[in-house]
């Protein structure tokens, strides 16, 4: 607190304390030091206290300054355009719990636009206005999905700030580089020191950072201390090799196949199987090939499947888990693992020179089709094989694509992930055109933002059809919300026809037309807002 100046004409040191003590106990119990007669004592005490209070307040002096914090590092990025800075303040003010709630009406959901805004601002390379940093850090704290973009935008000053407030410690952990800046790639001594002496989180961050720039250096760093690491640490470190995985990693991974820990062995096997040229992949190909063949004896070519009869030590060493989960036959469990790890490229030669499309189209004997296709599906995702993914996905309009077919929606979504953005969008557009929106949510989630024109149109058309069918819009609130965030703002003009409240058909749900108009209005308002956001960030 502030200090009091040296009393000039003070009634002696400790006089104030005397007054306080007397006041606490009461003048009936304790006489005033000056010896005032009892009847007047309370009044005299208050007189003295008033003089002393005002005297001390008037004599206050500034306190000595504490040690100042290091100034925050410079942020060299250019400042936000003014309009964009205002927009950011509005987006940040719209935090959940900041009043409102209930039905959404026609106004856009601002907080949902924050991730997009941050991505655009980061792409432009703007610096965050300093006074917004507390709100940005609070938003990032509440939503982990916002963290990377929010912290990148918040920049070096936010980390400086986070060191001063325990609520924002997460930023120091999450930030690339964490609490201490990562050593540069050439600073081998510091890298080695941090690797050997750092905390686990620091070491993981260090390994990941190096791996993303120089994969081989990260592997060598890990190999140097591998034997002395704890099993759970080995697992985490091994996992970071997923980034930049290449044929050079094979010897190290092959050696990890003999690890003491089963989880480490399984991860090493999984990584090796993602390298189609690896020895493990070749061994798996050989095992898998023994299980699947074209039956030469049938009239129409048919695939026959012979699941393995045993899980030998060689298979186990290559990462096959011998014990099946409850409710699954162990032979089909082993088969699935073999097929998943075998390089897809070997099947064409094995199955009579057929293309992946032709192989997937072959009938499968004895109900093995589900098992077989599901395993190939996992293999296509793991090996990022677009050709097989395409074959397994089939044409989007095919009847089984929407029904309870062989592949679940989650599997399809993963397969779509291996395709290029344009192809993905086209496939999902075809799917929606044929099957409507009820199952499209997961598939839309893997499409690139903003949606490509054909996909956007398919979604709007399907929404329009759903409205005409007379259902309520909240049955489609998930897709609606995605459309608000992902539809190309340029599509807004095409939606004008949908904004009016339509005449209600007789079989429609009561009032649905009004709610649909409201939902479309919100969609259009949000699209306009997004294009305004982009415009502001361009500085226009």
């Amino acid at each position: 607190m502030m200090r009091t100046s040296a009393p000039v004409a003070a009634p002696g040191p400790g006089a104030w304390e005397e007054l306080v003590t007397t006041a606490l106990l009461g003048t009936d119990r304790r006489a005033l030091p000056a010896g005032v007669p009892g009847g007047r004592a309370p009044s005299a005490l208050l007189d003295a206290a008033a003089v002393d209070t005002v005297r001390r307040r008037a004599g206050l002096r500034a306190a000595p300054a504490r040690e100042r914090p290091e100034p925050a590092p410079e942020d060299p990025r250019p400042a936000l355009p003014e309009a964009a800075a205002r927009r950011l303040a509005m987006l940040l003010a719209d935090r959940p719990g900041a009043g409102g709630g209930g039905r959404r009406g026609t106004a856009p959901d601002l907080i949902e636009l924050l991730p997009q805004w941050l991505a655009m601002a980061n792409a432009h390379g703007y610096a965050a206005p300093p006074e917004t940093l507390p709100a940005l850090l609070d938003a990032a704290r509440a939503r982990t999905d916002l963290r990377p973009a929010a912290l990148a935008f918040a920049g070096p000053r936010a980390l400086w700030l986070a060191r001063l407030n325990p609520d924002w410690r997460f930023a120091l952990r999450a930030a690339p580089g964490g609490s201490a800046a990562l050593p540069g790639p050439e600073d081998t001594d510091r890298i080695r020191q941090l690797w050997e002496e750092g905390l686990f989180a620091e070491r993981v961050a260090l390994l990941a950072a190096i791996r993303s720039r120089r994969p081989a250096a990260a592997r060598e760093l890990l190999a140097a201390t591998w034997a002395t690491e704890r099993a759970e640490d080995r697992l985490m470190f091994l996992d970071s090799l997923r980034t930049g995985l290449g044929p050079d990693d094979e010897p190290f991974l092959e050696q990890a196949l003999t690890d003491r820990s089963r989880n480490v062995r399984a991860t090493a096997a999984e990584l090796l199987s993602a390298l189609p040229g690896s020895a493990l992949a070749a061994r798996m190909a050989e095992r898998a090939a023994a299980c699947v063949a074209v039956d030469p004896l049938r009239g129409t070519p048919t695939l026959v499947v012979e699941a393995p009869h045993a899980c030998d030590p060689g298979m186990e060493r290559d990462g096959v888990v011998p014990k099946a989960p409850a409710g699954r036959g162990e032979r089909s469990w082993w088969l699935g693992q073999l097929l998943e790890a075998a390089p897809l490229g070997t099947w064409s030669a094995r199955l009579g020179g057929r293309t992946p499309q032709e192989i997937v189209a072959l009938p499968v004997a004895d109900d093995w089709q589900g098992e077989l296709h599901a395993a190939w599906c996992r293999a296509a995702v793991r090996q990022k094989d677009a050709q097989w993914a395409r074959a397994l996905l089939g044409t989007p309009a095919a009847p089984e694509a929407g029904g309870p077919g062989a592949l679940s929606l989650a599997e399809r979504a993963k397969l779509l992930g291996t395709l290029g953005a344009a192809e993905r969008a086209e496939w999902v557009a075809g799917f929606i055109a044929a099957h409507g929106l009820s199952e499209a949510f997961q598939l839309l989630g893997v499409c690139a933002v903003p949606w490509a024109a054909p996909l956007g149109r398919a979604v709007v058309d399907a929404l329009n059809i759903a409205r005409d069918a007379g259902s309520y819009p909240w049955s489609f609130s998930g897709v609606m919300g995605l459309a608000e965030r992902c539809l190309d703002p340029a599509e807004a003009n095409r939606l004008d026809g949908l904004l009016a409240v339509p005449d209600e058909p007789e079989d429609a749900s009561p009032g649905a037309g009004g709610y649909w108009a409201e939902a479309f209005q919100r969609l259009v308002t949000t699209l306009r807002l997004r294009s305004a956001m982009a415009e502001e960030l361009r500085g226009g």
Binding site: M1, M2, V20, A23, L24, L25, G26, T27, D28, A41, P42, S43, L46, D47, A49, A50, D52, T53, V54, R57, A58, L60, R61, A62, A63, P64, A65, R66, E67, R68, P69, E70, P71, A72, A83, R86, A89, M90, A93, D94, A98, G99, G100, G105, T106, A107, P108, P130, E131, T132, L133, P134, L161, N165, E518, Q521, V524, T525, R528, L529
Partner: protein, 451 residues
């Protein structure tokens, strides 16, 4: 009046919102989407049609030219004032020429604007005439004042008795007696028509539960209350200004009888405090020509935003008249010679040592003063244990923050704005420390509100 065409900033518009929900709803309407036929005139009117849930759009019009703050008219049924449509329209207007171009008002807007301006002019004329005829019966007024003074004297005498009883029995008892005792006494002061005393008495009730050191604070406040009682009882013998301070502190209404001072008044800070019955708005003004600082007080019923709303960073070309007493800090806004316009001026500042000395000097005229308005020229927020202080950039002295300021989110905005470098900070400096209200970074940049 060159400032007419100047558009407000979005922050300034949002400061007009009556509550957080309106602010949120208004910001959502601040996009071109729902608006059509929006426009603004050079005379400071803004209008537009807002698409709502009904088939007919709402007609919204705002008159920014009024010296007493913007006036609003909207055909929506909302009872909020301004409604979200008016806020949204102003946000759109603040964003620039594209969304709200200059033009001539359509008939429906023009009618209202013209009618309103005529009414205000008539009211102003009537007000001037009314002021002249207000003192119609000075005899009766004096009798009323005398009766009230007698009641207050009776209340003050009773209060002195209570304080004496308290001190006789000891403050330790007050801790056990709890809040009820003080509530009862405060009610007595309300009956005695001394609201200022009532508020102080109520404040005493909260001290015993306010944490370590409460006996010291309770004795201080009791002593100052006693001082005020004694000041009232001897008011005839006090110097005129001090007597006026006592009267206004006790709770007698005064009138802004100081001579009007015309200046360009910069809005330094605006913040509201609320209790169960009343929302109090404080607006700090700084006269860029005279260098004077003044406080405009406004009251609203609980849950309603008081008028006027003067966003930080605006400059008003206006007359200001001070109230008697208390260092003549409190002022009333008089005639305004143009609409408020944004400006980037900032007040000159002092060092922390000068700030605290200024408080000490002000106590001479008003010993009950809690704090004085001060701008610190160049200070750095510095952590101080679990609190913070503002340290001079080029001297070894600092002011601690008040306990209340420590808990506010504004503290972190201030720390972030500074980044360890000096900033200019306006706030209230008193015996409990400094409460930052507004800050400016070193380079040319707009004010950041902290309250």
């Amino acid at each position: 009046m060159t400032q007419q065409g100047v558009r407000w900033s979005a922050d300034q518009v949002l400061a007009l919102a009556p509550d957080a929900a309106s602010r949120k709803a208004g910001s959502k309407l601040g996009t071109a989407g729902p608006w059509s036929q929006a426009g603004s005139s050079d005379e400071g009117a803004v209008w537009g049609l807002c698409k709502g849930s009904g088939s007919k759009p709402y007609q919204t019009v705002v008159d920014m030219a009024d010296a007493a703050g913007p006036a609003y008219k909207c055909s929506c049924p909302s009872r909020k004032f301004p409604c979200k449509h008016a806020l949204g329209l102003l946000l759109l207007w603040s964003a620039g020429q594209d969304a709200v171009p200059s033009g001539t008002a359509p008939d429906w807007a023009e009618q209202w604007i013209a009618g309103r301006r005529k009414r205000t002019a008539a009211k102003r004329a009537a007000g001037a005439a009314g002021a002249a005829s207000g003192a119609a019966d000075p005899q009766a007024a004096r009798r009323r004042a005398e009766r009230r003074a007698e009641r207050i004297t009776a209340g003050v005498t009773e209060l002195e008795q209570r304080l004496a009883d308290l001190l006789r029995g000891g403050l330790a008892q007050a801790e056990q007696a709890g809040y009820g005792l003080w509530e009862e006494t405060a009610a007595g002061m309300v009956d005695a028509q001394a609201p200022g005393l009532a508020a102080r008495v109520r404040g005493l009730g909260a001290i015993p539960s306010s944490g370590p050191g409460w006996p010291v604070r309770l004795l201080e406040e009791c002593a100052l209350l006693h001082l005020m009682d004694q000041g009232w009882l001897r008011r005839e013998r006090l110097p005129e200004e001090l007597a006026a301070t006592v009267r206004s502190r006790v709770g007698l209404p005064g009138s802004a009888d100081g001579p009007p001072v015309r200046d360009h008044w910069l809005v330094l800070a605006q913040y509201d405090t609320a209790d169960a019955k009343l929302t109090t708005r404080r607006i700090w003004l700084y006269g860029t020509g005279t260098g004077r600082t003044g406080l405009v007080l406004a009251y609203g019923a609980a849950g309603r935003a008081p008028e006027p709303a003067l966003p930080v960073g605006l400059v008003l070309d206006a007359d200001v008249a001070s109230y008697p007493g208390a260092g003549r800090l409190r002022v009333a806004l008089g005639e305004q010679y143009g609409p408020p316009a944004p400006a980037r001026t900032r007040p000159p500042g002092v060092t922390t040592a000068e700030a605290v000395a200024r408080y000490g000097e002000a106590l001479r005229e008003d010993p009950w003063l809690e704090s004085v308005p001060v701008t610190l020229r160049a200070v750095v927020p510095v952590p101080d244990g679990d609190s913070w202080q503002l340290a001079d950039a080029d001297a070894d002295s600092a002011l601690p923050l008040t306990p209340a300021a420590r808990a506010r989110p504004g503290l972190w905005r201030l720390v972030a704005l500074s980044g360890g470098a000096p900033v200019t900070v306006f706030g209230e400096c008193g015996h409990r420390g400094f409460t930052p209200l507004t800050a400016w970074p070193q380079h040319e940049a707009p004010a950041v509100t902290l309250c």
